[in-house]
């Protein structure tokens, strides 16, 4: 390969990877715990969404190296990701939140 990426920082080592794995496991355990604690039932949805968004971000930034790699990768990934989130959100709003006059 003649194309040694210039704009990328070095990827982290095994220590960081293991640490991220520990954090991910803790968050997953917390998620399941939240599910079983009745007192948290009212705030269940926002808590779970925040926790899983955190997991998602950690994997993408560290395991998929977006934190260290070129911005171009982030661009071609995040733009469609935002579109996908918009698709999910708008369909939920259209079907669940807005009154429908038809059907």
């Amino acid at each position: 390969m003649r194309t040694q990426p210039r704009v990328e920082r070095a990827h982290p080592g095994a220590g960081t990877y293991v640490m991220i794995a520990v954090i991910l496991t803790v968050i997953t355990a917390a998620e399941v715990a939240v599910f079983y604690i009745p007192a948290l039932a009212v705030a269940l949805v926002p808590i779970l969404l925040t926790l899983s968004a955190g997991k998602f971000t950690l994997v993408v930034m560290f395991y998929m190296h977006l934190r260290f790699d070129s911005r171009i990768f982030t661009g071609v990934f995040v733009a469609p990701l935002l579109l996908a989130l918009a698709v999910i959100l708008s369909l939920i709003v259209l079907f669940k939140a807005l009154p429908q006059t038809g059907s």
Binding site: M1, T3, T25, V34, F35, L49, F56, Y63, I72, L83
Partner: protein, 196 residues
């Protein structure tokens, strides 16, 4: 054929490898694919005419374990990449095999879950929950299956001593795919299993 004969483009305009740019673009495309499947699931949540539906049938303890299994496979994957980048053939062999093993274990959990549901009367034809659940998790499982085959192929390459430092990019791209499949599961686990 020797590696030296591999067709390479002249240095790219961005200095980035084309395979990696292309693969990230493909992952972006996959976001919309899974996004649309998840939308379908969400739109049909609570719209089933007959049971069983999510809260009657989903097995949270079991799926928590399988989620942990898939997360662990992601750790194995980055360790495999680190090993290949170090030039450690033994490390590569070990971690690649473990990644594939944990991936297969996840698939085993899924197969068990699907059979269990089937015996409890949930099929894709039964109701909207069954349809959207099986299609969403089924396509995710198909992605995991492709990933396992991909990893085993790399493992065979490593076994034959054809996965040296220069080939780290191959492992990195397989890793991108694997982690992406993992983050899709992170979303599914929360949206399907925990938020009922």
């Amino acid at each position: 054929m020797t590696q030296a004969a591999t067709y390479t483009h002249p240095a790219t305009a961005t200095g980035l490898d084309s395979w990696k740019v292309g693969f990230w673009t493909f992952i972006g495309s996959e976001c919309l694919f899974f996004g649309s499947l998840i939308s379908t699931y969400m739109v049909y949540k609570g719209e089933s005419l007959v049971g069983p539906t999510s809260h009657e049938i989903l097995n949270i303890p079991l799926t928590s374990i399988s989620t942990f299994v898939l997360l662990t496979s992601s750790l194995m994957m980055v360790l495999a990449l680190a090993a290949v980048q170090r030039g450690s053939r033994r490390g590569a062999l070990l971690w690649l095999l473990l990644t594939a093993w944990f991936g297969s274990l996840f698939l085993g959990f899924q197969a068990f879950e699907f059979t269990q549901f089937y015996h409890e009367g949930l099929t894709p034809q039964k109701n909207l929950f069954g349809a959207s659940f099986f299609v969403l998790t089924g396509f995710h499982g198909a992605h995991v299956t492709v990933g396992v085959i991909w990893l085993l192929t790399l493992w065979v390459l490593a076994l034959r001593g054809r996965l040296g430092r220069a080939d780290a990019l191959k492992v990195e791209i397989a890793g991108l795919y694997w982690h992406f499949v993992d983050v899709v599961w992170i979303a599914i686990f929360t949206l399907v299993y925990l938020i009922q």
